[in-house]
């Protein structure tokens, strides 16, 4: 088993499959009367969040608590970080407190990789800048597998702001390991040149959503980050919604079995219409529930044994 989870490319096929299989077992705990397992008793997990987040932080917290680990939540606001403490000094403080795992979200791409050199425990990347968000990719893969029964050979369209999306990057890396085929779709200004070759050869790029939909098994809509809307990546929000938003008529162009995913939070009316978001094909709420199971699996596999 791997020691850290920093990138969607970290787990090989066997490890990724083990994480998904373990997550399936962890999911059964959610249906029990006692939603707790003793596997990580006495271990400490620190949630180190330099960026705002609700679902990821809560999801990691719930996962660690269900495994009986002690959880320390640290958010940059209201901490010594506002007094100017560096990431390294914060890391050494956590180390001194005996953190077995650090779950880190940071606005700077690569921060978790630096952190991994400074602490003895495991580091889990919970989103770094516009770089990666591997547990989101794992929970997306888990959701696809549980809805469609397989991952190998699936055709996944990832639509929207690929340029700024850590979810897209981690998904491309992990899905290529798992044997799925990915097409990145969006306006040319939001898809970096050569991204496909740089991440995973075999990844396709398209600027035409309507052409991709009829043979997609999964459509993953990315959030258009509000702060980008005025940055001239596209002429107007309405034009973006017209060309790259998923609405009812577009959804009906999908094959019957196809599912619609969104990492959240959504901009209803922008990249996805309420009709699509609330349709039975949408897995958006499922993704949140699966997030806890997948993060339990990751924490157990990183911390459960003596492989530190």
């Amino acid at each position: 088993m791997i020691r850290h989870l920093l990138s969607g490319a970290d787990p090989d096929l066997a490890t990724a499959t083990q994480i998904l299989d373990t997550a399936a077992e962890m999911a059964t705990v959610a249906g029990r009367e006692v939603k707790k397992l003793p596997a990580l008793r006495g271990r400490t997990v620190v949630n180190l969040f330099y960026e705002d987040s609700t679902r990821t932080r809560i999801s990691f917290e719930a996962a660690a608590k269900r495994l009986s680990a002690d959880v320390i939540n640290f958010s940059a606001k209201g901490s010594s970080v506002t007094k100017g403490e560096s990431l390294k000094d914060t890391a050494l403080t956590l180390q001194a407190m005996g953190a077995d795992a650090v779950v880190v979200r940071h606005p700077a791409s690569g921060a978790p990789h630096r952190l991994a050199d400074w602490v003895d425990g495991s580091v889990v990347n919970a989103g770094d800048g516009t770089h990666e968000h591997p547990t989101q990719a794992l929970l997306d893969a888990y959701t696809m597998r549980s809805r469609l029964g397989r991952l190998a050979g699936l055709h996944v369209a990832i639509v929207g702001d690929v340029l700024h999306s850590r979810v897209a990057r981690s998904n491309v890396l992990l899905l290529s390991t798992l044997g799925a085929k990915v097409t990145l779709v969006g306006p040319p200004t939001l898809i970096p040149v050569d991204i496909a070759a740089a991440l995973a050869p075999g990844t396709l790029v398209s600027y035409d959503l309507d052409a991709v939909l009829p043979n997609a098994d999964v459509v993953m809509m990315l959030r258009v980050q509000r702060e980008r809307m005025n940055d001239s990546y596209f002429p107007s929000a309405r034009e973006y919604a017209r060309r790259y938003g998923l609405d009812g008529p577009r959804m009906r162009r999908l094959p019957d079995h196809a599912i619609v995913m969104h990492p959240g939070p959504m901009n209803r009316g922008m990249e996805i219409t309420p009709e699509v978001a609330d349709s039975p094909r949408s897995t958006i709420v499922e993704q949140v529930a699966n997030g806890v199971s997948v993060r339990m699996a990751v924490l157990y596999l990183l911390l459960g044994g003596n492989n530190l």
Binding site: E25, V34, P38, L302, G304, G305, N306, N307
Partner: protein
């Protein structure tokens, strides 16, 4: 008593192996435990068999099949994975988690018979009891094992024992079953001169 220590060492050397139960013995023993369960539970009413992976699972299924042959009662069978409840998780590389499957009726208020292949230190059964407490509240819990090899480290005993095998700690007991290993057999490895 002159036990050559070489019997334990290199794997390529022929270790001393003794067959404790043959294929026919295993079947007889399973039949007997099935009868004992029927006798002790007044016809297996309200009883659920839970196998502890790996080899407790097929044993539980066999016991249920024999019970239904003998008395025509269907005993629900399930699987109880105890990996996450082990007390030695941290002494090994991370262990893979297996499935836990409870029968459709659940285990609340039932008489649960835990089924395992070998009873040794008792730590597996301790973990199983903890796991059981988290998935439901059985009326009572019993334990059935194919082999009891002694050396208990916890105050645990079995209600149904296929065969008691006095062993030394240097020896190891290996149960193989058709479902998991291709052949029904119980063997004792690395013991004193036969």
């Amino acid at each position: 008593m002159a036990c050559p220590p070489a019997a334990q060492s290199p794997a390529s050397r022929q270790p001393s192996v003794k067959v404790i139960l043959t294929t026919a013995d295993v079947q007889r023993v399973v039949d007997r435990i099935a009868h004992q369960i029927l006798e002790k539970t007044q016809g297996a009413a309200g009883t659920v068999l839970l196998g502890i992976p790996t080899r407790g699972t097929p044993l539980a299924r066999r016991l249920a099949a024999r019970i239904s042959t003998f008395e025509d009662v269907a005993v629900p069978v399930g699987v109880l994975d105890i990996t996450l409840y082990r007390d030695d998780l941290r002494r090994h590389a991370t262990r893979a988690v297996g499935p836990t499957q409870l029968p459709p009726g659940g285990i609340d208020g039932k008489r649960v018979v835990l089924v395992d292949d070998v009873l040794f230190s008792g730590r597996t059964v301790r973990a199983a009891l903890d796991a059981l407490g988290d998935v439901g509240r059985p009326a009572s819990v019993q334990l059935a094992v194919l082999v009891d090899r002694g050396h208990r480290q916890l105050p645990i005993r079995a209600d149904y024992v296929g065969k008691n095998i006095p062993t030394s700690l240097a020896e190891s007991v290996k149960v193989t079953l058709v479902e998991t290993d291709g052949v029904d057999e119980v063997r004792l490895f690395g013991g004193a001169a036969l």
